[in-house]
């Protein structure tokens, strides 16, 4: 699964920094930004954000179901916890016979992980409305759908965002392992560099840095979203 072309630096014509495999070669990063790092970063963003988005929709639907129907929240929670313990490499391997080396094979486990992280958080959030608040709401004549829309849902936002922060960061990190399949995402350059006789440090560090930077940007964005959507806890 060694990718061809520009991903592997050409040691013969490379700078002394590259041929000598120094700690970090800024020149290589500039030279290979457009053909290696940038497209891989875009892939990584797409893979992880699509997975979190689909996972969020599914988790939300499940959490509402569990919130409405008594007795299903616990079994669902146990299943979610179990799913999360399956090693990602194992899931990728299991899915290859069915979906081949494809984005579907990558998307299923990534979506699954974010789903099982988000589900308990969203459910906890929906159930976080204090009993006296719910009683006051009912006593004032809010209908059940008003209680959900105006009370339970807004009060769930802090827990939902907390869940999203964990889901986004861990999905971005697991997506690196997805390069195991077809070299997709920022894990691709890392795997390539590791497969050389001497692992190429610059490529590992620059791709790794981009993973961390992307995760950080997402996390800070969510913190900012929280500040806007949850003004009431900033007492």
């Amino acid at each position: 699964m060694v990718a061809a072309g520009p991903v592997i630096p050409n040691f013969g014509k490379g700078s002394t920094c590259v041929t000598g495999n120094h700690v970090f070669c800024w020149g290589w990063v500039q030279q290979h930004w457009h053909d290696t790092l940038e497209p891989k970063l875009v892939e990584h963003v797409e893979l992880s954000l699509v997975a979190v988005a689909i996972g969020f929709v599914l988790a939300f639907a499940l959490a509402i179901f569990a919130h409405r129907v008594r007795g299903v929240s616990q079994p669902l929670g146990v299943v979610a916890a179990l799913v999360y313990t399956i090693p990602s490499i194992a899931i990728f391997q299991i899915l290859i016979p069915f979906f081949g080396i494809s984005d579907t094979t990558i998307a299923i486990p990534l979506t699954g992980y974010s789903l099982v992280i988000l589900y308990p958080n969203i459910l906890t959030g929906l159930q976080s409305a204090p009993p006296d608040v719910l009683e006051a709401a009912r006593g004032m004549g809010l209908e059940p759908r008003d209680v959900f829309r105006r009370i339970e849902l807004p009060l769930a936002v802090p827990a939902i965002i907390a869940g999203l922060r964990i889901a986004v960061v861990s999905t971005i990190s697991i997506a690196t392992i997805a390069a195991f399949i077809g070299g997709r995402g920022l894990g691709g350059p890392i795997f390539d560099a590791l497969q050389l006789p001497t692992p190429f440090k610059t490529e590992i560090y620059s791709a790794g840095f981009l993973v961390v930077a992307f995760a950080l940007v997402c996390d800070l964005t969510l913190v900012a979203v929280r500040r806007v959507l949850v003004p009431w806890t900033r007492a």
Binding site: P130, D132, V133, E135, A136, A137, R138, G139, M140, G141, L142, E143, D146, R150, I151, P154, L155, V157, V230, P231, W232, T233, A235
Partner: protein, 320 residues
């Protein structure tokens, strides 16, 4: 349901038993609360007073009998309509933490579809009425003290001008000073807005301070006595009631009267302690006993002596 004004509330042989319990929570409970009255339900825990209150806005269903507001059974209307026409205040206030004070207060007007401007206007009016600052309108419940929260709870309950107000131990979680102040302001407010109020408490002192009428419930949800505070203190219906109101009931009765309202004897107590007309007879008696005399001199706001209150007059007051 009509808004504004007050409405008569009638409990008509209401019975409630919770599933799995032998004893009834409410047993054959009948009570007529005239429009505009301030009725306190009081009793030990297990007396069913909160249950009785929550049956009025159908938060708790009853098994038999009926409850009518202005002659109309609470069962004859949609629960949502019914509740929007009844103000409801609970102990922890139950404010919506994610909404500002203004939005909390405007909850029912918003549900009723009032125009935005009128909602704002009404919220401002109520903020004034319950003694909050206009600048509190934009604050969140977490930024308020317990007393302020309860004021917001009261404002929210009054927002759509309901004829009936249900209050479930609204001051139970407050410190004594805040509590006394809010009690006083609620009395004033009740005179201003003329609602029929049902107020639940386990505190007999609060019941005596607040109620025009007091309904004492004994365990099992049986009505032990329903009367004015003065009558209950003067003539408790049975040993349960007299035990519940305590041995100092004579003093409690005297605390209900102000010396200015008593027919005073002509002056003649030059060296007696001086009290203002607003002093309670109970406190006047305390001064009298403390000074080892048998009279106090009552002075009006202008400093002029209005007369004297003697020990035998106090005895006379209690004789009734």
């Amino acid at each position: 349901m009509s808004t504004g004004g007050a409405a008569e509330i009638v409990f008509d042989h209401v019975t409630k038993r919770y599933p799995g319990r032998d004893e009834s929570a409410i047993s054959d409970f009948s009570l007529e609360i005239p429009a505009g009255a301030f009725c306190v339900l009081v009793g030990p825990s297990g007396g069913g007073k909160t249950t009785a209150l929550k049956m009025v806005n159908c938060l708790i269903p009853f098994d038999a009998g009926d409850i009518r507001i202005d002659g109309r059974s609470v069962r004859d209307q949609s629960v949502v309509e019914l509740r929007r026409g009844i103000g409801y205040v609970i102990q922890q206030a139950g404010l919506f933490p994610h909404m500002t004070v203004g939005d909390n207060i405007a909850t029912v007007p918003r549900l009723l579809g009032w125009p935005k401007a009128r909602q704002r206007e009404r919220a401002a009016e109520l903020i004034e009425l319950v003694g909050l600052e206009q600048s509190d309108e934009r604050r969140y419940p977490a930024q308020l003290s317990g007393g302020q929260r309860q004021r917001v709870g009261l404002a929210r309950a009054l927002a759509a001008d309901p004829p009936v107000l249900l209050m479930d131990e609204p001051f139970g979680a407050l410190d004594p000073i805040t509590r006394a102040r809010l009690q006083q302001e609620l009395r004033r407010l009740h005179r201003e807005v003329a609602k029929t109020v049902i107020f639940v408490t386990h505190d007999i002192d609060e019941a005596i301070t607040m109620g025009d009428r007091i309904a004492i419930l004994r365990p099992g949800g049986v009505l032990a006595q329903y009367d004015t505070p003065d009558t209950i203190l003067a003539a408790p219906a049975d040993s349960f009631v007299s035990a519940f109101i305590g041995e100092d009931r004579a003093l409690r009765r005297l605390a209900l009267r102000r010396v200015g309202d008593v027919e005073l004897a002509p002056d003649g107590g030059d060296d007696a302690p001086v009290v203002s007309a607003a002093t309670t007879v109970r406190n006047a008696l305390s001064l009298m006993v403390g000074s080892q005399g048998d009279r106090v001199r009552v002075v009006g706001d202008d400093g002029e002596t209005k007369g004297v209150l003697t020990f035998s007059q106090i005895e006379e007051l209690l004789r009734w």
